[in-house]
């Protein structure tokens, strides 16, 4: 049921009437720049790029496209890593960056209301100015839009303590592919009227509806935060330390790890004095009031020492904390500088299986002669095995793709997931049925058909 009609001249005229001629681009240069997102190796050119400014304009575009059976691919800033916004069969890329109004921050209701093109950091900063916190902080939060965050159900560094984007979506206004505008949820914490469609739209990857307004939950901002780091001889010790921390009644806000490959790459690039002999580096943090932070940092330190941490540091100042976090921040820049092509994945396993998973990744890398560094969120089991290679080396590219196939199979075997926060998109669609099973995938298709009878929204992805 994949729609493949190309938009004709008549459709283009009507789209221009709907959103204004200057907000419809069909020049080859523009199409080239909307043929890719942040996903390596995936591209597909659209026929048109359309920039609506309101819910009404989005509805008009969708009605026209649905009538003409032309695919529509919604897009924010294009930072996603699973090719979810890459057009597979032409059509219209619907860019929502012009809808970037932050409509309200209510400290009475603890909600923010905004359009989908607002960037995550803009909301976070506006909330912070009122003493509030919007916790989801995906790595791309300076660039990514909230519409994209909700559509991909982004995670981030604070997921263990605060949850993921899904946990902060109270209400959405969305336009169905056939042009109707619906609302689900709103400013209420409790609201069980009807199926939970707003949650269904979280992570729907632009295949069910186009969200045009979001009502997001905010929480009071913590007073302050503390940060520390610990080295371990091998990864198993670090993994056991994580389990011990959680068993001690502490729920840290940050619990990140780097494997040996990542430690080496960061030190080579940033020269910040990391111990490159260590098998793993754990970076931890807690937020809250001063008393809580002191108590929890102490407990985390004890847990790390009990599991054989070779070195332990607790930041004494915010400058020192920034220095410790720099090791984590520098991972991707360091790895990506090693080779022109960087493929960043996000296989996820239960926390208790992190060591098994990372050892498997390292074994696969050794066997295939690939350079794979693994870092990620130790607190929630979300791993980022990252391979760097030269795209001109076809054999290596093929080897990397096969390696990820093995890694995803292992993740599923360990009761994990093929994707923790990057989404299925194009890249992991072939793996989806392996994780969910045939009946589940068939149900996804029926849900997709209920929303999108003509299959115009982001065809060839989830639910197709």
């Amino acid at each position: 049921m994949v729609t493949t009609a190309a938009p004709g001249e008549r459709l283009r005229d009507r789209l221009e009437q709907a959103v204004g001629a200057r907000n419809v681009r069909g020049d080859p240069g523009a199409l080239v720049t909307y043929a890719t997102d942040a996903t390596p190796l995936q591209r597909g050119e659209p026929d048109l790029v359309v920039f609506p400014a309101s819910t009404e304009e989005v509805a008009a575009v969708l009605r026209l496209a649905d009538e003409a059976r032309v695919p529509v691919i919604p897009r924010g800033s294009g930072t996603n890593l699973s090719a979810g916004t890459v057009p597979l069969s032409g059509g219209i890329v619907l860019v929502l960056t012009r809808m970037n109004r932050l409509l309200e921050i209510s400290d009475a209701d603890l909600v923010a209301v905004c359009e989908p093109g607002v960037r995550t950091i803009e909301l976070a900063e506006a909330a912070a100015a009122k003493g509030l916190l919007f916790p989801p902080d995906p790595g791309s939060h300076t660039t990514a839009t909230l519409g994209g965050n909700v559509a991909e159900c982004s995670g981030g560094l604070r997921a263990l303590k605060y949850g993921i984007t899904r946990d902060y979506v109270l209400g959405v206004q969305a336009v169905l592919p056939t042009g109707e505008v619906i609302r689900s949820g709103g400013r209420l914490v409790k609201d069980v009227a009807g199926y939970d469609l707003r949650r269904l739209l979280c992570g729907s990857e632009g295949t069910l509806a186009v969200m045009t307004e979001l009502t997001l939950r905010l929480v009071p901002a913590p007073e302050s935060s503390g940060t520390g780091m610990a080295y371990f001889t091998d990864l198993r010790e670090a993994a056991r330390a994580v389990s011990r921390v959680l068993a001690s009644g502490v729920l840290p806000v940050t619990l990140e790890f780097l494997d040996q490959v990542c430690i080496g790459a960061v030190e080579d690039y940033a020269c910040i004095g990391l111990d490159t002999d260590a098998g793993a580096l754990l970076i931890f943090g807690q937020d809250g009031d001063a008393h809580t932070i002191e108590r929890d940092m102490e407990r985390i330190a004890q847990a790390c020492e009990a599991e054989g941490a070779t070195e332990l540091r607790i930041a004494g100042s915010s400058a020192e904390a920034a220095e410790l976090l720099e090791a984590r921040r520098a991972v991707l820049p360091s790895l990506s500088r090693l080779e022109p092509l960087t493929i960043l994945e996000d296989a996820t396993v239960p926390r208790s299986r992190i060591a098994d998973m990372v050892e498997h990744i390292q074994a696969v890398a050794r066997r295939r002669g690939l350079r794979i560094g693994t870092f990620g969120h130790a607190g929630d089991g979300n791993l980022h095995p990252t391979v760097v290679l030269d795209p001109a080396d076809q054999e290596a590219v093929q080897g990397a793709l096969e390696a990820f196939d093995e890694i995803f199979a292992k993740a599923i075997e360990l009761d994990g997931s093929i994707t923790g926060e990057h989404g299925v998109g194009i890249v992991k669609l072939p793996q989806l049925e392996r994780q969910l099973g045939a009946d589940h995938v068939a149900l996804l298709r029926r849900i997709k058909a209920a929303f999108d009878p003509h299959g115009i929204l982001n065809p060839g992805k989830l639910g197709s």
Partner: protein, 351 residues
């Protein structure tokens, strides 16, 4: 058409998109095509032959870009966007395709005698010849004509510098406008004429010279003063003037110099950090001449902030920004004075 870009430079981009919010033209349009990642995709398309190098969108975007290099600072992969842009313009703007507005400018500064002749009419700083001292003040080409008081102020602040008159243009103007080779050659000539450390009052020139001669040979004035005198005494201003700063893009984004001018200004007045102090003012070398309307759109936010902050003085560290802000302030009829950092320090500091 391949062979325009150095493959290693173009390969660096991992398409993460982190550059988008840093880009002033993306800020104006919210269109990916007018962003650094979008432009790199255009370059790649030219390189693979998907797009012709004279495709209208390609030509438009190569010129719409300010070349401010704000994208380089936020790039996790270390893409040298400024270098790619120079290669792009070197290809596209050569010969007949260059704007008629540019030709007389480039001609005027292409030979040292012409630059000297330009300077004769204005009273800039000068010493008869290089006096063997290890450091020299660079006069600049257009700066010595438009703002001769800058070099005179710099001379007062740094009497240890010699100011030989036999010096031409640094070539930044050429390098940024499609004549990369000539731009590099001029920088090398200037490096020969001013053996030793070159101290400049123009952020754009500092970055270009540092790129060709190596950063060890070049100091922007605030860097020179800060290194000479050590840290000043912050929080002890001698006046109650409210002073803001407009960074020079290439000084900030190319050479990472932005603390020094702020610390110096804080010694003579109440330093006010404008929200857009670090963002391009729209002067962008010849951009204000080539694309006056877009340049004014980029400038508008800066003027709003200057007015809102009620500044007495807005300091600049580059002649292009000087001219841009002077015109903007005049058109808006703001009471704020535009002054070069050197002028502010010479007039209000104790030298």
């Amino acid at each position: 058409m391949s062979g325009i870009f150095t493959p290693e430079l173009l390969d660096r981009c991992i398409s993460c998109g982190f550059c988008l919010p840093a880009c002033p033209t993306y800020g104006l349009t919210a269109v990916e095509t007018s962003s650094p990642r979008g432009r790199i995709n255009l370059m790649r398309a030219i390189e693979t032959g998907t797009l012709a190098e004279n495709d209208p969108t390609v030509l438009e975007e190569s010129s719409f870009c300010l070349g401010c290099r704000a994208c380089e600072v936020v790039c996790p992969a270390g893409v040298q966007y400024g270098a790619l842009l120079e290669e792009w313009r070197g290809r596209l703007w050569h010969g007949g395709r260059r704007s008629w507005r540019l030709k007389p400018l480039l001609w005027a500064v292409n030979r040292t005698p012409r630059v000297r002749a330009l300077g004769l009419v204005r009273r800039h700083a000068r010493t008869r010849r290089a006096n063997g001292k290890a450091a020299h003040l660079m006069l600049g080409c257009f700066e010595r004509v438009l703002y001769p008081r800058v070099s005179r102020s710099a001379r007062i602040l740094a009497p240890e510098l010699s100011v030989p008159p036999a010096q031409g243009c640094c070539g930044a103007l050429h390098a940024h406008n499609g004549e990369l080779e000539r731009g590099n050659q001029l920088a090398a000539e200037l490096g020969d004429a001013l053996a030793g450390t070159i101290v400049t009052t123009a952020g754009g020139c500092a970055a270009h010279l540092a790129g060709v001669l190596g950063p060890g040979r070049v100091r922007e004035l605030s860097q020179w003063l800060a290194q000479r005198d050590g840290a000043g005494e912050p929080g002890n201003p001698r006046g109650d003037m409210r002073i803001g700063l407009q960074d020079s893009c290439h000084l900030r984004n190319g050479l990472d110099v932005y603390r020094e001018p702020r610390e110096l200004l804080a010694q003579v007045g109440e330093y006010v950090e404008l929200p857009s102090a670090g963002a391009c003012c729209g002067a962008a070398g010849t951009y204000a001449i080539l694309r006056p309307r877009d340049s004014a759109r980029v400038l508008a936010r800066h003027l709003d902030e200057i007015a809102d902050a009620g500044l007495d003085v807005i300091a600049v560290v580059n002649p292009g920004c000087y001219r841009q802000l002077e015109q903007g302030v005049r058109r808006r009829r703001l009471r704020t004075r535009v002054m070069h950092l050197a002028e502010v320090l010479a007039a209000y500091g104790d030298v």
